[in-house]
């Protein structure tokens, strides 16, 4: 429970407020109690003075009964504990408590100490020195005692009665003790009030913080946590719904953005794999169909020749020949799509290619009332591409765009610009060697259409080849499953049997040996030898930083493509044009872009239009 942010925060705030309220309460109570006591003190002092001056006359007349009566009547007041009059010898002459009369007071007693500490009576002492606070018993109420000295006066030594000597200064003292019970009670109540206030304040503060923490932190963080769980479980379409405009809201927003990008990338990867396998399938099917088709076509055209005199046969045979020729065209376009041939690349200006493509279909576009708007970045560096194939790509896209707008016409917007993208997952290893400069590229074994890296593995006196993905960051490695990868396994160059294992280094993820390849002119490439790890490192590429691309966006103002179709448009034979198209156009485009190590994406909104985004790598591949 204490691990939750909310509780930690509440605890910290409660502790802080406890300290603040405590300190505040201490000084508050102290000052209140001080002022109350000083009030009582003043009151007692005044009382003492009053008693002294009111009994003065009686003293002078030596009317002791009256003095005693006055003291008694004062002593009966509820808060006054005791009123005593003590003479200079320390004898209690009058007291509200009659049992104390004629008792001697010890000069060293607490009440006398202030004046008699020097063993001689002082003449003038301040009020604070005349005041004392004490307890009669340890568990009784506090009492404040104040002594009022009775000074010698002219009338005193001239009085007839027991006249005091003239040189005596203090004749005696009046000691008034007042109970502090009321004051103590008030202070105690005040203390309780403050404790209760502090508790209420802390609880209220805690609840308030709990509420806001839940609202501003816990809930959004939990949402984020749920979202990460969903995403890690593979649900990439999960998005965080509400997010405010605070930091967590922005985190949520960027999280959504990230998952979207991730899902796009996964779609692309998925598409790439799918297209590659479809391509192989199509090529295989087309190739296999070619032979039987040759049989049908040759025999039917042969019969057509042989039955020249028989018009009845001629008609039917012509249909067979015509339809077989049509099949031949379909196979041809299928192979166009599947063509795994390397593009014939040259340096070319992409804007020029676009211009050429526009020139080719300009007529057709103007008939369809299609306007072309170009926002091409000038002075773009040359791309290393098959200009012919790229032109085909653009023409196909323009024709598609024009078809999507049909009779009403519209606008095709073309944008070209330079962009930068991270190299991880997109850079291909083209020439890998062992330390003795033997090539480790295997053209026979291709991974996703690209020559793989071959490594001979020797384990328990058995030998085999493993193939590694040539694309940095994709890990589509092919390991021989019959081979158990254990401690004794050796990884060597198939030609010279030199070890490819990096000395003094293990995979930071799984501690398996690390294989090292020399890449001609591009440093070394390191990869974990375990099939379970995806660790790999290519400093040369990493340090080169972002990879540069030229991006071309082709937008139309046509129907748009609905969501369901969007994922299928690059598949062969998928067409929305009905009889008009064979559904291979975009598949061929995809194949061409893929052969150029580029990527093609589509964004579309039904009713608004479609945008195709093509990215082609800028750096010339060595």
């Amino acid at each position: 429970m204490f691990k939750k942010i909310g509780f930690r925060l509440i605890f910290a705030v409660a502790l802080t407020s406890l300290i603040i309220i405590g300190v505040f309460a201490y000084f508050n109570v102290k000052s209140q109690s001080d002022s109350l006591i000083s009030e009582v003190e003043r009151h007692a002092n005044q009382l003492g003075e009053t008693v002294v001056s009111s009994t003065r006359f009686d003293m002078m007349l030596n009317q002791r009964d009256r003095i005693q009566q006055t003291i008694n009547s004062i002593g009966t007041q509820p808060q006054i504990r005791d009123v005593r009059l003590i003479n200079k010898f320390g004898e209690i002459i009058y007291s509200s408590d009659s049992t104390n009369i004629n008792k001697m007071v010890d000069k060293r007693a607490e009440s006398c100490y202030a004046c008699h500490s020097e063993d001689k009576p002082l003449e003038q002492i301040s009020i604070t020195e005349r005041t004392r606070i004490f307890r009669v018993h340890p568990d009784s109420n506090r009492v404040i005692g104040i002594i009022t000295p009775i000074y010698n006066g002219k009338s005193c030594w001239q009085a007839e009665c027991h006249a005091h000597p003239k040189d005596q200064k203090v004749l005696g003292v009046l000691d008034v003790s007042i109970s502090l019970a009321e004051v103590d009670k008030a202070v105690a109540i005040r203390e309780w009030e403050i404790v209760i206030f502090a508790l209420v304040a802390i609880i209220a503060l805690g609840l308030l913080i709990a509420f806001f923490v839940r609202r501003w932190i816990s809930n959004p963080v939990n949402d984020l946590l749920d979202a990460t769980k969903q995403v890690s479980a593979g649900n990439l379409s999960y998005a965080i719904k509400e997010h405010g405009n605070d930091e967590i809201g922005k985190l949520g927003e960027s999280f959504n953005n990230m998952t979207k990008k991730l899902s796009d990338a996964r779609m692309q990867l998925f598409q790439s794999d799918k297209m590659a396998s479809l391509g192989r399938l199509a090529a295989g099917v087309a190739h296999e169909i070619n032979n039987p088709l040759t049989g049908v076509l040759t025999y039917s055209s042969f019969l057509l020749k042989r039955t020249k005199d028989n018009p009845e046969f001629q008609e039917d045979l012509k249909v067979i020949v015509r339809e077989t020729l049509r099949s031949r065209e379909i196979v041809k376009s299928l192979l166009d799509f599947a063509r795994q041939s390397v593009p014939k690349k040259n340096n070319a200006d992409i804007n020029e290619i676009i211009d050429k493509a526009i020139a080719v279909i300009d007529n057709q576009l103007s008939i369809n009332k299609v306007k072309i708007v170009k926002h091409t970045e000038s002075n773009l560096p040359d791309l290393f591409v098959d200009a012919n194939q790229m032109q085909q790509v653009f023409i196909n896209l323009f024709v598609n765009a024009s078809d999507a707008m049909e009779k009403n016409g519209g606008t095709i917007t073309i944008k070209s610009q330079r962009i930068s993208v991270s190299p991880y997952g997109s850079t291909q290893i083209k020439k890998a060697t062992c330390s003795k400069r033997h090539s480790l590229m295997d053209n026979e074994f291709k991974i996703d259409g690209l020559p793989s890296l071959k490594v001979k593995i020797i384990s328990d006196s058995k030998e085999s080849l493993i193939h590694l993905d040539p694309v940095y960051g994709k890990h589509r490695n092919s390991f021989n499953l019959d081979f158990k990868n254990n401690r004794g396994t050796k990884f060597v160059c198939p030609e010279c049997s030199i070890s490819l294992v990096q000395q003094d280094k293990v995979c930071p993820k799984c501690s398996a040996p690390v294989l090292v390849f020399e890449i001609e002119g591009q440093g070394t490439y390191e990869v974990c030898s375990s099939e379970n790890s995806d660790w790999e490192k290519w400093d040369f590429v990493d340090s080169a930083g972002l990879k540069e691309y030229i991006e071309v966006r082709i937008s139309d103002t046509g129907y748009g493509i609905n969501r369901d179709d969007l994922s299928k448009i690059f598949e062969p034979f998928f067409s929305t044009k009905g009889q008009k198209g064979n559904g291979l156009g975009l598949a061929v485009i995809w194949g061409i872009i893929d052969n150029h190590n580029g990527s093609i994406n589509v964004e579309s909104e039904v009713g608004k239009g479609t945008t195709f985004i093509i990215r082609l790598p800028l750096a010339q591949q060595r």
């Binding site: 070619n290 032979n291 049989g295 049908v296 040759t298 077989t324 599947a338 012919n388 032109q391």
Partner: protein, 268 residues
């Protein structure tokens, strides 16, 4: 003329062999067959076949091995490559390596027969040339070789690179000599994209035979020779200058040039 020539057909599919035999028998050719490269090479070493029709891809090898074997044993058979559309590039490079023609599978009777007839004529011209050389006559009486600085695809079509970057394209005299007189030419429209090794024009000749001309380069057709439209015989009279067919903006000439034979080598 002489239709008794022997043909060897090499393909791993019996149905295609049968089809070729049937078709060739229409024109009274006698046809021998081999189902794989190994038997084919055995047969070549034993007999002389003026014409060999060969599939490029076979289980135990490819058509290039046949070409190499012919070259090694110094036999000048005319080789026609058969291939699927997927391996057009291979077919084009086979033209560089000495085959005389290729036909994409699947093919019709007419396509095969026109190719075979050209190969037969080609073979006869070459034989005659040999004879003449032996007798130390000048061989140029038989056909005009194409000018230096021209490049040709096999023996059939040529290109000349113009200064502006475009190329002009036409057919070689030897090709014209292997076909009958041209009666009609079927063109592709301007602005059409063509690829190297793909048919880009058809000559309709006497005898109702249609001969297809393969494009030596990939690119876009920008212009065609209007003169030969009205008068196809210009091609026969001046195949290298007045009788050009298309002007093409090449797309990948730097790459494709390796499959073209420089005509200057013909004069050595």
């Amino acid at each position: 003329m002489n239709n008794s020539s022997n043909i060897l057909v090499i393909d791993d599919e019996q149905v295609i062999i049968n089809a070729v035999i049937k078709i060739c028998s229409l024109e009274n050719y006698s046809v021998d067959a081999a189902l794989n490269v190994k038997t084919a090479i055995e047969k070549i070493s034993k007999n002389y076949y003026p014409i060999i029709i060969c599939d490029i891809m076979m289980p135990d090898g490819d058509g290039f091995q046949i070409l190499d074997e012919l070259h090694r044993t110094n036999r000048n058979s005319a080789v026609i490559m058969m291939t699927g559309y997927s391996t057009v590039e291979n077919a084009v490079s086979s033209l560089y390596k000495g085959s005389v023609d290729f036909i994409p599978k699947p093919f019709t009777v007419d396509e095969l027969l026109s190719s075979v007839s050209r190969a037969t004529n080609y073979q006869q011209i070459k034989d005659k040339q040999k004879q003449l050389l032996k007798n130390k006559y000048n061989c140029e009486i038989l056909y005009v070789t194409c000018p230096a600085k021209y490049l040709r695809l096999g023996y059939s079509s040529w290109i000349f690179q113009e200064r502006e970057g475009s190329v002009i394209f036409g057919v070689c005299d030897l090709f014209i000599k292997t076909i009958e007189s041209i009666q009609e030419i079927e063109y592709l429209d301007a602005d059409t994209e063509i690829a190297q090794g793909i048919c880009c024009a058809s000559f309709k000749c006497g005898n109702d035979r249609i001969h297809k001309v393969l494009s030596p380069v990939s690119g876009r057709i920008v212009e065609m020779n209007e003169k030969i439209k009205s008068n196809p015989s210009i091609i026969e009279k001046d195949p290298y200058f007045e009788g050009w067919i298309y002007r093409i903006i090449p797309a990948n000439i730097d790459y494709e040039i390796k499959n073209l034979i420089p005509c200057s080598s013909d004069r050595l």
